[in-house]
Every structure is written in structure tokens, then in C-alpha cells.
């Protein structure tokens, strides 16, 4: 799966699962509150029923002439009677004020009016501890439901995501096949052109058409580099690296020489500060992709008569130009494939993507500083 496919799938999963989770949380929250109130109402109904029993027993006690008067008691439910001015008369709980008698947060209360005032009672207050077991069970059931729904919707989202990105995957496959075929067809003519240019230069038959020949050489080298890049991208991660001890100092100088034609064509001033014998363990083709893409970009996006600075030290390789620069908002996405900050020059937008892939393979660090109309500085730090 390509990175872009993974990103799309991930975004879809995040949006789909987050919205589903929010919806279910909201629905479960409402359901929980509704059911909790219903459960508490059921418990309150028990209190109401008990208060009716107490009222009828108060009537019996009021009419009784026996002593003592036995006040009814329930194992689970406490009760108190208050006169019509809400002064405590009697109860299964100790004497207390009207307000204090209803202030326990873990108890349920039910107040019933008594009329006529049997034993002087204006109110019967019944109370019991809230049965939290049923509420805990409710929470447990909702949690299990959410867990089940979460698993189900995650699986569903995964399959839906794959279903949705299938057309995109097919398009990318088709495009890759097209590029693969095109690059394959380009290889032979480019090689032929470059070989023949070398032959003409070797046998000295180019004096009359030196300038035109130089232009053909530059164009052919550009094509050749594009071909190399496209081939690398087509191979993706199946590319086999042959790590060697490479003298980067010599190598960078060779690559500058390779681009001499392009540099001259744009009348650039080249300034180099290359320390001698900088050695790196790297695949030669990777080093070429790295250096070539950076130099090629610095030439391509530079101004005519601009300056190209290349610095190589034990710590880093810096390629700096005085070109059009990159907007700050584009810097974050400039490494993405097919992303081009400026479309005034040719290209596919794959150069920095390849550079990024190579530096990630070797654990290097890429830093880009740029200012519009001032230029761009690309630094590759060899070590973290």
C-alpha cells in the first residue's frame, strides 16, 4: 500500500470512527440518564408505597388506646413524621431538622402529606439508601455495548475504507504502469543520443555546432536524470542497495562537472567549499540521486546570473541558490510526491520526494530554509 493510500485510509478511519464514537457516546449518555432516572423513580415508588402504609398505620395508632403506640419499622426504609410546621415528631431516625433530614447525598427521599393529622403528623418522610448496584450494572452494560459497537464499526470502517480507496489505487496502478512503460521506451533513445554526443566530442567533429551540441547534451542529461528518478520510484522499496565507501568530496566535484553545461547555460556563478576526503558509507546511485536532485533544483529554480553555492563538510552537504524561493506554507508539503511549489519550470515534482526517501533510508536529516525571491538553502546533515 502506498503512503498516500495509507494516509487516505487513516484519515477516513479517524473521521468515521470519531463521528461514530461521538454519536454513540451522545446516544449512550442520553440513554444512561433516562434509564438512571427511571431506576431512581422505581426506587422512589417503593418509598411512596411505604409512606402510604405508614399513613394508614398512623390512623390506626391515632385511634388506638393501647400503650405504648408502636411506630411501624421497615428493614430497608427509614421514616419520620413531622407536624404541619415541619417540626420533628417521631421516626426511625434520630431527631433532626426538616432540612437536615433530607440532605444525605446517597439517600432517596419521598415526602407525603398526611391529612387529617393523625398523631399530629402533617408530613411523612420516607428515605432509603440509593441502590447503586443497578446503576453500576447499567454502566457496565453500556460499556460492553460501546465496546461491541466500537469493534463492529472499526471492522466495518476498515472494509469501507478499502472499498472507497479502491478506485484511487487502480488509478495509481494505471499511472505507474504508464510511467513504467514510458520510461522503458525512453531509455534506448536517450542512451543513443548521449553515446553519439560523446562520440562527436571524442572525435572532434563538433567545432562548428558546439553550442547546439551543448544544448542537446544538457537536454539529454536532463531526460536521463528524469528517467533514473522515475525508474527509482517505480521500483519503490524493492531497490537493492550496494553500500560502498564513497569519497563524497570527489563525487560531489564530479557531479558539479556533470552539470557544468546547465550551469553555464544559465550563467550561474558557482561557489564551492568542499572539504577533502569526506567519506560516507552509501550506495553510489543513492548518492547520485541525492546530489543530482539538489544541484538540478538549485540550477533550475535559480535566476539567470545567480549564484549557486555548494558546501560539503564532515557534518553536512549544503546546496544554496539565489532563486525564486519557496513560500513558507509550501515548505511543509514540498517533500510530497508530485508536489511543486512553482510550476514555472518543468518537472514532475518527484525530486525532493526521492531526496527525502534516500535520507530516510540512511537516517540523515533534511533541512530546508527558503525565502521568496531570495533563494533556498537545502542542508543534509549526515548524523543525528
Amino acid at each position: 500500500m502506498l503512503n498516500s493510500e495509507k494516509r487516505s485510509l487513516l484519515r477516513f478511519l479517524v473521521i468515521y470512527l470519531t463521528s461514530t464514537l461521538l454519536l454513540f457516546t451522545l446516544a449512550s449518555g442520553i440513554f444512561f440518564l433516562f434509564t438512571k432516572h427511571h431506576l431512581l423513580d422505581t426506587q422512589r415508588d417503593t418509598l411512596r408505597y411505604e409512606s402510604e402504609i405508614i399513613k394508614s398505620k398512623l390512623r390506626v395508632l391515632h385511634q388506638s388506646n393501647t400503650i405504648p403506640l408502636l411506630y411501624p419499622k421497615h428493614d430497608m426504609i427509614d421514616s419520620m413524621i413531622f407536624d404541619k410546621d415541619k417540626h420533628y415528631i417521631f421516626g426511625t431516625l434520630a431527631k433532626t431538622s426538616w432540612e437536615e433530614s433530607q440532605s444525605h447525598p446517597n439517600r432517596l427521599y419521598y415526602m407525603a402529606k398526611v391529612e387529617p393529622y393523625y398523631l399530629g403528623a402533617g408530613y411523612v418522610l420516607t428515605s432509603q439508601m440509593i441502590d447503586y448496584d443497578v446503576i453500576t450494572d447499567l454502566k457496565k452494560n453500556i460499556f460492553l455495548f460501546m465496546l461491541g459497537a466500537g469493534i463492529f464499526f472499526s471492522i466495518l470502517a476498515y472494509y469501507l475504507g478499502h472499498l472507497f480507496i479502491a478506485p484511487m489505487r487502480d488509478s495509481i496502478k494505471q499511472m505507474n504502469h504508464f510511467i513504467q512503460d514510458t520510461t522503458h521506451e525512453l531509455n534506448t533513445p536517450i542512451s543513443t543520443i548521449l553515446t553519439n554526443i560523446e562520440l562527436i566530442e571524442t572525435f572532434g567533429k563538433h567545432e562548428a555546432n558546439h553550442l547546439e551540441l551543448k544544448r542537446i547534451e544538457i537536454a539529454s542529461k536532463t531526460l536521463s536524470r528524469i528517467y533514473d528518478d522515475l525508474t527509482y520510484l517505480n521500483l519503490n522499496h524493492q531497490y537493492h542497495r550496494n553500500i560502498i565507501t564513497l569519497n563524497m568530496s570527489t563525487f560531489v566535484e564530479e557531479r558539479i562537472l556533470y552539470f557544468t553545461g546547465m550551469i553555464e547555460a544559465k550563467n550561474l556563478t558557482i561557489r564551492t567549499d568542499i572539504e577533502e576526503n569526506i567519506i560516507r558509507q552509501i550506495d553510489k546511485n543513492d548518492a547520485m540521486r541525492l546530489v543530482d536532485n539538489l544541484i538540478s533544483n538549485a540550477i533550475k529554480y535559480n535566476k539567470h546570473h545567480g549564484v549557486l553555492e555548494i558546501t560539503l563538510t564532515k557534518m553536512s552537504l549544503i546546496v544554496k541558490d539565489t532563486g525564486i524561493g519557496i513560500d513558507e506554507k509550501d515548505l511543509a508539503v514540498i517533500l510530497h510526491r508530485f508536489k511543486r511549489a512553482n510550476k514555472s519550470e518543468g518537472g514532475f515534482g518527484i525530486g525532493l520526494d526521492i531526496v527525502n526517501q534516500v535520507i530516510q533510508s540512511y537516517g540523515y536529516i533534511l533541512k530546508i530554509k527558503s525565502k521568496i525571491d531570495k533563494g533556498t538553502e537545502v542542508e543534509i546533515k549526515w548524523k543525528k
Binding site: L70, Y71, K73, F90, Y117, G122
Partner: protein, 119 residues
């Protein structure tokens, strides 16, 4: 044997003291004596007050009103009650004494003291 008889006599006398000696003498002389002679059910009257007015203050007020203005319309008892029992004459006792007697009456018949939690 003598000791047993002494203890029994002591028990009886304490029991008698509990029911009679604790009474306010003024209440006894001014109210209950006459009630007992005429066999007026004081306990029943108090319960009717309690069922009608609930609070001590309201009962005190209603009783005072009746005792100072003894009319059938001011009485807590139904009119039929006065077919059997004579209408009380207006109290000649001073208001302050009357109020004290009413409080003592309520305290004496208060049901709270007889309430116990069922086991």
C-alpha cells in the same frame, strides 16, 4: 416476707406517684377533677385537637379560644357531644394560669411520650 410486702407497697406508691403526682396541681384542680367527675373523655378530646391542628401552638390557641368563649362553634367536639355532656361554663381562671394549664394538659396527653419503634 415483710421485705417483700414493703417492696410491693413501695412499687405501688411509686406507680401512683408517676400517674398523679407528676400532674400540675392547678391542672388537676381546675380541669381534670371536673372532667373525671363528669366522665368527660380528655384523651379523646386531645386527640381530636391533635388531628385537627397538628402543632402545639395551634392546639393551645384553639383550646384557649374555646375555654374563654365556650360555644359549640368553638368546640373541637361535634354538636352531638353536647347532648350527652353539658356545655362548659366560661373559665374564671386568670388567662396566664389558663395558658399554663393548657400547656400542662397538652404535655400530659401528648402522644409522643407513648410512641415506641416496633421491633
Amino acid at each position: 416476707m415483710e421485705k417483700i410486702i414493703i417492696w410491693i407497697l413501695l412499687g405501688f406508691s411509686l406507680g401512683f406517684a408517676e400517674t398523679h403526682l407528676l400532674l400540675n396541681p392547678s391542672l388537676e384542680n381546675d380541669c381534670l377533677q371536673c372532667h373525671q367527675n363528669q366522665q368527660i373523655p380528655s384523651n379523646l378530646i386531645y386527640k381530636r385537637y391533635l388531628m385537627q391542628y397538628s402543632t402545639e401552638k395551634a392546639i393551645e390557641k384553639a383550646m384557649f379560644n374555646y375555654l374563654t368563649h365556650p360555644l359549640i362553634s368553638n368546640s373541637i367536639m361535634p354538636p352531638q357531644f353536647f347532648l350527652k355532656f353539658p356545655m362548659k361554663e366560661k373559665s374564671m381562671v386568670a388567662d396566664e394560669v389558663l395558658k399554663v394549664n393548657i400547656k400542662a394538659y397538652i404535655k400530659h396527653f401528648d402522644v409522643k411520650q407513648y410512641l415506641r419503634i416496633q421491633k
